[in-house]
C-alpha cells in the first residue's frame, strides 16, 4: 500500500505539471464536511460548502445536491427542493433514497397521486423498506383509498414494528368508524412496541382504553405519560379536559397554567380554561377566556357553542342568540345547537322561531332525550298539549331503546325529575323506564337523592336564571295549575347543565388524537 509521494488534489489543480496529467479531485471528497454541518443544523455554512462543491464538480456531486434539497425543504422551498431531488435521481437512478425524497416532496406539495407513483417506483428498487410502505399507506389515506392504505401499513408492520405505523393504522380504522379493529391495532401496539418507548406506549394504551370506554384507566396512563414529560402541551390539555369532565376544576386549572405558559395562544386551551371558570361559576372570567379563544379561532363552533351557553346562563339572551346562530352557520347539522337557540328564542319572546328551531333540532337528533323533553315543555307552555304529548312519547321511545340496548341505564336525576313532572301534567309516562316498579328502586333512590342535590345547586344551575324563566308570561301560570307549586325552572337549568358534557368530551378526543400524532 505504500505509494509514491503525490501532491494532493487541491494543489495539483492549481499548478499542473506540464507532462503528467493532473490528478482529478474526487467528487465525494467534501461529503463528510457537508454532512457534519448539516446534522449540526449549521445550514448557512453548509450551503456555502455545497455551493463551492457544486461549482467544483459542476453539479455532479450527488450528495451535495441532496443535502441542498433537504435544506431547501426545511426552508419551505418545496418546489425547488423537489426539482433538486429529481436531479439527484437522474445522477443516481439506482438509489431508492432519492426517489423516496422526490416522493416526500410531492407528498408535502399535496400531490398524493404523483407521490404514490414515485413511491411505487422506489419500492421496486428496494423491496424491504419500512419507510416506503408506511409512506405509501399515508398517501393512500389522503387519497381516501383506505383499503390500499391498510394493506401497505400492514406490510410496513411486517417489515418493522414502528410506532408511527400503528398510529396510522389505528387512525384509518377510526376514520372508517371501525372501532373494534382500531382497538385491536392499539392492543397489539401496546404488546409489541418495546418498553423503552414509554410515551408511545402510554398513548396507545390511552387510546385503547378510551375506545373501550375505560376513561379511568386512560386517565391513569395519561398521568404516567405526564410524569415523563410534564410540559407536553397536548397531554396536559387531554388530562385537563378529563379532570374538567369530572369536576376537578382546580387541578385542571393547575395543569392549564403550565400549558398556557408554553403555548399562550391556543384556542382549545382558552376554551377549556373558560369552561373551568364556568364550572366554578366565575361567569365573567369564563366569558373573557372564551372570547379570547374565539378571537384566536373565530371559526371554531365549539367555542361559539360554549359562548352561547355561558351567555344563556348569564341571561344575556340577545348575545347568546348571536353566538349560537354563528355556531349553527359553521355547523348546521347539530341538534343541540338548535335546541339552545330555541331556548334563547323562547326567552326573547319569539315563540314562532323557537318552535321552528326545536323542530329542526328534533329532526336532526338521534338519541338526545333533552331535545324532546325541552320541546315538550315548550309546547306545553305554549298550550299545545297534543304536540307536547307526541314529543313526550318520542322521548319515551328513545329511553326505551337506550335501556333495551343497554347503552345507558343511568339518567340524569334532574332530567328524570322534569320528565316525571311533565308526565304527570300530560297524564303520560307511566311506562317509562324509571317509573316501572320493577326497576324503580334504584332510580327512585337516585331521584330522591337528587332532591337534596338540587337544593345545593348542581353544576350550571342558576337560581336567578330559574326565576327569570318562571317569570315569563304564561309560563309559571300554566305550571302552577298543573304541577302545583313547583316552578318548572329545573328543566332549563337541567339542559344547560347537560349540554356542557358532549362538548367537553369531543374536545378531549380531539386533543388526544392530535397529541398522539404530534408525539410521533
Amino acid at each position: 500500500m505504500k505509494t509514491d509521494v503525490q501532491l494532493p488534489a487541491a494543489t495539483d489543480l492549481k499548478k499542473p505539471r506540464p507532462k503528467k496529467a493532473p490528478e482529478l479531485p474526487i467528487l465525494e471528497r467534501r461529503n463528510w464536511l457537508i454532512h457534519l454541518h448539516y446534522i449540526r443544523k449549521d445550514y448557512e455554512t453548509c450551503k456555502a460548502i455545497i455551493k463551492e462543491q457544486l461549482h467544483e464538480t459542476q453539479g455532479m456531486c450527488e450528495y451535495a445536491v441532496y443535502v441542498q434539497a433537504l435544506i431547501m425543504r426545511l426552508e419551505g422551498k418545496i418546489q425547488q427542493s423537489l426539482e433538486l431531488f429529481q436531479s439527484c435521481a437522474i445522477l443516481n437512478p439506482k438509489s431508492s433514497d432519492n426517489l423516496k425524497q422526490v416522493a416526500r416532496s410531492l407528498f408535502l406539495l399535496g400531490k398524493h397521486k404523483a407521490a404514490i407513483e414515485v413511491y411505487n417506483e422506489a419500492a421496486r428498487l428496494n423491496q424491504k423498506d419500512w419507510e416506503i410502505s408506511h409512506n405509501l399507506g399515508v398517501c393512500y389515506i389522503y387519497t381516501k383509498d383506505f383499503r390500499s392504505a391498510e394493506e401497505q401499513l400492514n406490510l410496513a408492520l411486517q417489515l418493522n414494528k414502528h410506532d408511527l405505523t400503528y398510529m396510522m393504522l389505528g387512525k384509518i380504522h377510526l376514520l372508517q368508524g371501525d372501532t373494534e379493529k382500531a382497538i385491536d391495532v392499539y392492543k397489539s401496539a401496546v404488546e409489541y412496541v418495546s418498553i423503552h418507548n414509554l410515551t408511545f406506549k402510554h398513548t396507545c394504551f390511552i387510546l385503547y382504553t378510551m375506545l373501550l370506554g375505560k376513561y379511568q384507566k386512560a386517565f391513569e396512563h395519561l398521568g404516567n405519560a405526564l410524569t415523563y414529560d410534564p410540559n407536553n402541551f397536548k397531554a396536559i390539555l387531554a388530562a385537563g379536559s378529563m379532570m374538567q369532565t369530572h369536576g376537578d376544576y382546580d387541578v385542571a386549572m393547575n395543569k392549564y397554567r403550565v400549558a398556557a405558559y408554553s403555548v399562550p395562544e391556543s384556542p382549545p386551551l382558552w376554551n377549556n380554561i373558560g369552561m373551568c371558570f364556568f364550572g366554578k361559576k366565575k361567569y365573567v372570567a369564563a366569558i373573557s377566556c372564551l372570547k379570547r379563544a374565539n378571537y384566536l379561532s373565530p371559526f371554531d363552533w365549539k367555542i361559539l357553542y360554549n359562548l352561547g351557553l355561558v351567555h344563556l346562563t348569564m341571561q344575556q339572551y340577545a348575545s347568546a342568540f348571536h353566538f349560537l346562530s354563528a355556531a349553527i352557520n359553521l355547523r348546521p347539522r347539530m341538534s343541540e345547537l338548535y335546541m339552545l337557540l330555541a331556548v334563547a328564542l323562547t326567552n326573547l319572546d319569539d315563540a314562532d322561531n323557537a318552535r321552528r328551531s326545536y323542530e329542526q333540532a328534533v329532526q336532526l337528533d338521534e338519541s338526545n332525550l333533552l331535545v324532546n323533553l325541552n320541546f315538550a315543555v315548550f309546547l306545553y307552555n305554549q298550550g299545545d298539549k297534543k304536540a307536547a304529548l307526541l314529543q313526550f312519547q318520542e322521548m319515551e321511545r328513545k329511553v326505551n331503546t337506550q335501556v333495551d340496548s343497554n347503552i345507558n341505564t343511568e339518567f340524569d336525576p334532574e332530567l328524570v325529575e322534569m320528565a316525571q313532572k311533565l308526565g304527570a301534567a300530560l297524564q303520560a309516562g307511566e311506562n317509562l323506564y324509571w317509573s316501572k316498579p320493577g326497576k324503580d328502586s334504584k332510580s327512585s333512590q337516585r331521584s330522591s337523592s337528587s332532591k337534596p342535590s338540587s337544593s345545593q345547586q348542581p353544576l350550571g344551575t342558576n337560581q336567578a336564571l330559574g326565576q327569570a324563566m318562571s317569570s315569563a308570561a304564561g309560563y309559571s301560570k300554566s305550571m302552577q295549575i298543573t304541577a302545583g307549586a313547583e316552578p318548572l325552572s329545573p328543566s332549563t337549568s337541567c339542559h344547560l347543565h347537560r349540554s356542557v358534557h358532549p362538548n367537553l368530551q369531543s374536545q378531549i378526543f380531539r386533543c388526544l388524537f392530535e397529541w398522539c400524532i404530534i408525539l410521533m
Binding site: M1, T3, V5, P8, A9, A10, A21, L24, P25, I26, L27, E28, R29, R30, N31, W32, L33, H35, L36, Y38, I39, R40, K41, T45, A48, I49, E52, M60, D97, N160, S194, H196, D229, P230, N231, M253, K255, R257, V258, A260, Y261, S262, P264, I273, F277, V284, S288, C289, K291, R292, M314, Q315, Q316, Y317, A318, S319, N347, L348, D350, A468
Partner: protein, 593 residues
C-alpha cells in the same frame, strides 16, 4: 491576537457562577481562530516528557490556511500546513521503541499523514477501488484512437446509467466537458491508468494485542464508500476489511485487535452498526429516528446524541436503554473520563451555549459557555488530569480545569414540577362598563333583540335596493349585460394640475369580441377640463387588458376636488353599459398661466 486571562474573563460570570462552579477557568481566547470538530482534536504527550500537548487539526477558512496546530499551555507551540482539510486526527503509539513518543495520524482526503515528533513521517493512501471493466475497455479503445470523443461520451453515458460499479472520476469529469474540450482531455489523460479513489470520513484506533494505556495501536478508518479498514501500526498494511451499507460518519472502537474488538459506527443513513472481529458484515444495527451527531461509549453502553434534540443510551448489542430530551440541538459530544476518581460522564455541547453533563439519563451538571461549542475534548493537558478543552463556533478556545474539590451528585438535577404551574393565568379583565351593559342586556334582552332584527332587515332591504339600483343604472364596475361582458377600473396619476387618467377595460367574454363602444366623461366644467370628453374605443379582443389614457386639467387652485364620471356606451343606446365614479385627488400643483 487578543487574549484574556482567566481572571479577566471570569468577570462576566462571577456573580452567579463562580461560587458554585466546579470548574476553574484556565484560559479563554475568543479569537484563537480555530475551526474544528471533536474528531480533529487530541491530547497527546508528543515529546514523551510527561506533559500533554493539545493537537488540533484546524480547517482554517474551510478552503485554505488548513493547519495542524499544537498548543502547549496557553500558547501555540507549532503550526504546520496541511494540504487538504483534515477529517480526523488520532494520537497513537506505533511501535515499542524508546522513548515512547506517540505519533499523530491525520486523515485527509484519501490519505493518512503520519507525523512523528511533529515531522512528516509517512503517508498512507487508500487502496484504489475496483474499476468497471467495460469502462476500462472503452478508455483503452480511446487510447488507441479507435473511437472519437463523442462516441466515447455516448458509451460512458450508457455505462453510467446501467453499470453496477460507478464510473471513475475521469469519466465523470469527461462527461461534464463541453465538446471542444474533450479532445484535449482525452489526449491528456488517456495514457494514465484509470483509478477510482474514495476518501476517508472517520478515523479511530484500536489496541493491537494489549490493553495497557501505552500499548501499540492499529488505525481504524472508515471510507466514503462504506468500507472500514484496520491498518497495521508499523507496516501500514491492511489487516482487516469490513463493509457497511452506508458512509460512516462517527466511530468508536474498543477491545484489542488480536483478541476481540467492537467497532461502533454511526452512518450517514441514520443507522448505527456494530462490527465485531468475527464477521466482515455488521453484527447489530440500531435504527435511529434522526441523524446521530455524537457517539460516545461509556463503559459497555453507547450514548448517541441525535438531531431531534435527544440523547439515547444503547447496550453494545443495540438494545435501547433510555432516552433523555435536550433543550437544544446537539453540536458536539465527548466522554469525560476520570479514572483516578472512577468517574465517567458524557459531555454534550448544545446550540443554546451550554454544555450538559450526563450520567446515564441524569443531567448532573451544566456549564455555560460564551459561544456555541463545536468541539469538546476532556483529558490530561499539561500536567493536569481533569482538563476540559472546547472550541467555539466563533473560533474561540476555552480551557477549563476541574476543581479537585468538585463533587457531582448522581441525582437527576432536572426540575420537578414545572415552574409555570405557579404563574398566574393572564385572564383578560372586564370593565365596569361591560358589567353595566350586561345588566342592561338582561333587563332589555327582548327589546334589544327585536331592535336588532328590525335593523338587520332594514339593512338587508337597503342593500338590496342599492344593488338593484346599481344594476339598473349600470353603476357597477362589471357590466351585467350578456352580450358585452366588460370590466373596467381607473387609475389616476399625477400631482396636478394635470392628471393622467388611465382606464383599464377588459372584455371578459370567452371568445366573442366587442365592437362599437364609446367612452364619455361627465364632470364639472368649472373645475376640470379634458381634451376629449368623448371618444371611441377599438375592438376589444376577449381576455386582453386595454389601457386607455386621457389627460385631465384641474382649473381650480382652491384645493378642491370633485368626481369625474366615466360612461362606457354602446353605439345607438343611451343607457351606459358601465359607469365609474372617479374621486379625483386634490391638485397639489399650481397651473402656469
Amino acid at each position: 491576537a487578543v487574549r484574556c486571562s482567566a481572571l479577566e474573563w471570569s468577570g462576566c460570570y462571577r456573580n452567579e457562577e463562580i461560587a458554585s462552579s466546579k470548574w476553574l477557568d484556565a484560559h479563554y481566547d475568543p479569537v484563537a481562530n480555530l475551526y474544528t470538530f471533536s474528531s480533529c482534536i487530541a491530547l497527546s504527550d508528543l515529546h514523551g516528557d510527561g506533559e500533554n500537548k493539545l493537537v488540533v487539526g484546524d480547517l482554517g477558512t474551510g478552503v485554505c490556511n488548513v493547519k495542524l496546530k499544537v498548543y502547549r499551555g496557553t500558547g501555540v507551540l507549532s503550526e504546520s500546513t496541511l494540504l487538504d482539510l483534515p477529517t480526523g486526527l488520532v494520537s497513537f503509539l506505533m511501535d515499542l521503541h524508546e522513548p515512547r513518543t506517540p505519533a499523530i495520524a491525520v486523515a485527509s482526503g484519501p490519505f493518512i499523514y503520519v507525523y512523528k515528533n511533529l515531522r512528516p513521517y509517512f503517508k498512507f493512501t487508500l487502496p484504489s477501488l475496483e474499476v468497471n471493466p467495460l469502462e476500462q475497455d472503452v478508455w483503452s479503445q480511446a487510447k488507441e484512437d479507435m473511437i472519437d470523443p463523442m462516441t466515447l461520451k455516448e458509451m460512458l453515458e450508457g455505462l453510467r446509467d446501467k453499470a453496477e460499479i460507478p464510473l471513475s472520476v475521469r469519466s465523470l469529469r469527461f462527461l461534464m466537458l463541453e465538446p471542444q474540450e474533450m479532445e484535449n482531455f482525452v489526449l491528456l489523460h488517456k495514457e494514465q491508468p484509470i483509478r477510482r479513489q474514495t476518501v476517508i470520513t472517520c478515523i479511530g484506533m484500536l489496541k493491537k494485542n494489549m490493553a495497557d494505556e501505552d500499548a501499540v495501536s492499529c488505525l481504524v478508518i472508515g471510507t466514503e464508500n462504506g468500507d472500514v479498514y484496520i491498518l497495521d501500526p508499523e507496516a501500514f498494511t491492511i489487516l482487516y476489511k469490513m463493509s457497511l451499507p452506508s458512509s460512516p460518519t462517527l466511530m468508536d472502537v474498543t477491545g484489542q485487535f488480536d483478541v476481540e474488538f467492537r467497532i461502533t459506527v454511526a452512518c450517514r443513513n441514520g443507522n448505527i452498526y456494530i462490527l465485531r472481529r468475527d464477521s466482515p458484515k455488521p453484527k447489530y444495527c440500531i435504527e435511529l429516528s434522526s441523524h446521530p451527531v455524537g457517539l460516545v461509549r461509556m463503559g459497555k453502553n453507547v450514548v448517541v446524541g441525535c438531531t431531534h434534540e435527544t440523547l439515547h443510551g444503547y447496550t453494545q448489542k443495540g438494545k435501547k436503554l433510555w432516552t433523555a430530551y435536550l433543550p437544544a440541538p446537539v453540536t458536539a459530544m465527548a466522554l469525560m473520563d476520570l479514572p483516578t476518581r472512577g468517574f465517567q460522564a458524557v459531555l454534550v455541547g448544545l446550540a443554546n451555549c451550554e454544555v450538559h453533563m450526563y450520567r446515564d439519563k441524569n443531567l448532573i451538571s451544566t456549564i455555560k459557555t460564551p459561544d456555541v461549542v463545536t468541539s469538546i475534548c476532556f483529558g490530561r493537558y499539561g500536567r493536569e488530569d481533569g482538563t476540559l478543552i472546547m472550541t467555539t463556533k466563533g473560533g474561540g478556545l476555552i480551557v477549563k480545569i476541574l476543581k479537585r474539590t468538585a463533587v457531582f451528585d448522581d441525582r437527576d438535577s432536572a426540575p420537578g414540577p414545572p415552574i409555570a404551574q405557579s404563574i398566574r393565568l393572564n385572564v383578560p379583565k372586564k370593565t365596569k362598563l361591560y358589567v353595566d351593559q350586561t345588566l342592561r342586556e338582561r333587563e332589555n334582552a327582548v327589546a334589544m333583540h327585536r331592535a336588532f332584527q328590525m335593523d338587520l332587515s332594514r339593512l338587508r332591504l337597503a342593500a338590496a335596493r342599492a344593488y338593484v339600483k346599481a344594476l339598473e343604472s349600470s353603476l357597477t364596475p362589471m357590466s351585467a349585460s350578456l352580450t358585452e361582458p366588460l370590466k373596467m377600473n381607473a387609475v389616476v396619476q399625477g400631482l396636478g394640475p394635470s392628471f393622467k387618467l388611465t382606464l383599464n377595460i377588459q372584455n371578459t367574454a370567452s371568445c366573442r369580441p366587442v365592437m362599437n363602444l364609446a367612452i364619455s366623461f361627465l364632470y364639472d366644467e368649472n373645475l376640470y377640463s379634458m381634451r376629449t370628453a368623448f371618444f371611441k374605443i377599438p375592438l376589444l379582443v376577449p381576455g386582453l387588458n386595454y389601457p386607455i389614457d386621457t389627460f385631465v386639467e384641474c382649473l381650480s387652485d382652491k384645493g378642491i376636488s370633485d368626481i369625474i364620471k366615466v360612461f362606457v356606451l354602446r353605439e345607438g343606446k343611451s343607457a351606459p353599459l358601465l359607469t365609474a365614479h372617479i374621486n379625483m385627488p386634490v391638485s397639489e400643483g399650481l397651473a402656469l398661466n
